[in-house]
Amino acid sequence: MFNQDIVKPENLVYKRTEVLTDNVMHYCPGCGHGTTHRIIAEVIEEMGIQDKAICVAPVGCSVLAYNYFEVDSLGAAHGRAPALATAIQRLNPDKHTFTYQGDGDLAAIGTAETIHACNRGENIVIIFINNGIYGMTGGQMAPTTLVGMKTATTPYGRNVELNGYPLQITELLAQLPGTYLVTRQSVHTAAAVRKTKKAIRQAFENQKNKKGTSFVEVVSNCNSGWKMPATKANEWMVENMFAKYPIGDIKVDGELVQK
C-alpha cells in the first residue's frame, strides 16, 4: 500500500488539534504540562471558541505556554495571572479568559491574587498544575511540597517545624462563595485524561453561562524536579501526592460535594 492510499479523510481517526501550534514543546518527556496543554486546546477547539479564548501564561515551566496555544495570549509576572485575567474578562465579558499556573505561581507568590479573584467570583477559568515543586528554577520547595519530600531547599526533606505544612489551596478556594466549580484531576492515565478533559470542558461551559470562577487542579509529576524517571514519578505521584491531594470534585454547581 502506498501512503496516498492510507492518507484519506475517511481514514482519519485522530488529528492533532489546530489550537496547538507546531512548536516543539520544551517540557521534559513524561511531564504533565504537555498533556494538559493538549486537553485544553482540544476543549477550545470542540467548543469553537478559539477566537474568544485568551490565555494568561504564568511564570514557571509553562512560562512559554503562549508558544503552544494558538490563541491570543499574555505572559503575566510571577503569580499575577488572576489579576490580569480579572481585568481581561471584565473588559470582555463574552471572551473565554483562562489562566494556566503552577503551584509556586498560584499558591505562593500569587496567593493573594488567586484568593481575591476567586472570592470576587471572577468569570474566569483557572487551570492549576500542582507538581509539588518549583520545576522551572531547579526543584525548590513549593507550598504544596509533601512533608518529608526532598527538594533543593529542603535537602533533608520538608520538615513541618521549619517549613510548615503542605498547602491544600484547592480545598481552601472551595470555601469561597465566588467559586462555582472546584475539582482536582490528573493526567497520568488515559482514563484520567478523559476525566480531566470533561472537567475542563465543564469549566469553560460555566464561563459561557457566566457562573463565576471555575478552578481545575491537575496533580502532575515533575520527573526532573523529583529526580525520577517519568514512569516512576507517576507511580510515586499516585502513592504519595494523591494521598494528600485526593482526586475528585470538591465543589460542583456552586455546592460543596466534599467538606
Binding site: C28, C61, M136, G138, S224
Partner: protein, 183 residues
C-alpha cells in the same frame, strides 16, 4: 602559565564535574582557578559547558570566548567551539557520535575514544576522568599528586572510596589519547 579551557558536551556526561575536579586540583597545587558554567533550564538534557581557567597569576576575566584548549564531547559542541580555539591551541574530542570531525589546520587536534573505552570496561561512571587523563597527557597543567588531592577535596567523604578507580581512569585516558593533527 595560564590555561583557558572549555569543556562541552551533553548534560549527564560529567562535564561540570570534570571541570570541578580540574579546578580543585589546580587550587590544591596553589594556582589561581575559576570555573564558570553555562546555567539555566536550557541545560535540561541539552548541552552543558563550563570554562575553567588555571593560572599562576590573578585571573582577570572568568568569562572567556577564546580557549587554549577545547575538550569536546558531542557534535553540537564541536560545531560551536571549534572556531574558538586560539591558533596553536588544542582541540581534544571523543569521536563517539561525531559525524563531522574538526577541520582546522592551525591547531593541534587529539582524539580520545573514551565513551567506547568506558563502555568496554563497564566504567561509565568515570568516563569523564578518562577524558581528563587524555587532556593531562597533552597539557600537564596539574600533576597527578594534585589530581588526587583535588578529588579528596571535591568529593564528599563517603565517596572517597572511589578515588583509586578515578585515578586509574585518568591513567587509562593518558594511554588512550591519540594525536590526529599536530603542528
Amino acid at each position: 602559565m595560564t590555561e583557558e579551557i572549555i569543556i562541552a558536551g551533553f548534560g549527564g556526561q560529567g562535564v561540570l564535574s570534570m571541570g570541578k575536579i580540574l579546578a580543585y586540583s589546580g587550587a590544591m597545587q596553589d594556582k589561581e582557578v575559576s570555573w564558570m558554567p553555562s546555567y539555566g533550564p536550557e541545560m535540561r538534557g541539552g548541552t552543558a559547558n563550563v570554562s575553567v581557567i588555571i593560572s599562576d597569576e590573578r585571573i582577570s576575566s572568568p568569562i572567556i570566548s577564546q580557549f587554549d584548549t577545547a575538550i569536546i564531547l558531542n557534535q553540537q559542541s564541536l560545531d560551536k567551539f571549534e572556531s574558538s580555539v586560539k591558533p596553536g591551541g588544542v582541540l581534544l574530542y571523543d569521536p563517539n557520535g561525531i559525524t563531522n570531525p574538526p577541520k582546522r589546520t592551525d591547531i593541534n587536534i587529539y582524539k580520545i575514544a573514551a565513551t567506547e573505552k568506558a563502555a568496554d570496561l563497564g566504567l561509565a561512571k568515570v568516563f569523564n576522568m578518562i577524558v581528563l587523563g587524555g587532556f593531562l597527557k597533552v597539557k600537564p597543567v596539574v600533576t597527578e599528586e594534585f589530581i588526587e588531592k583535588g578529588l579528596m577535596k571535591s568529593l564528599p567523604e563517603r565517596h572517597h572510596g572511589m578515588i583509586p578507580e578515578n585515578l586509574k581512569a585518568v591513567q587509562t585516558g593518558k594511554e588512550l589519547v591519540q594525536a590526529v593533527h599536530t603542528l
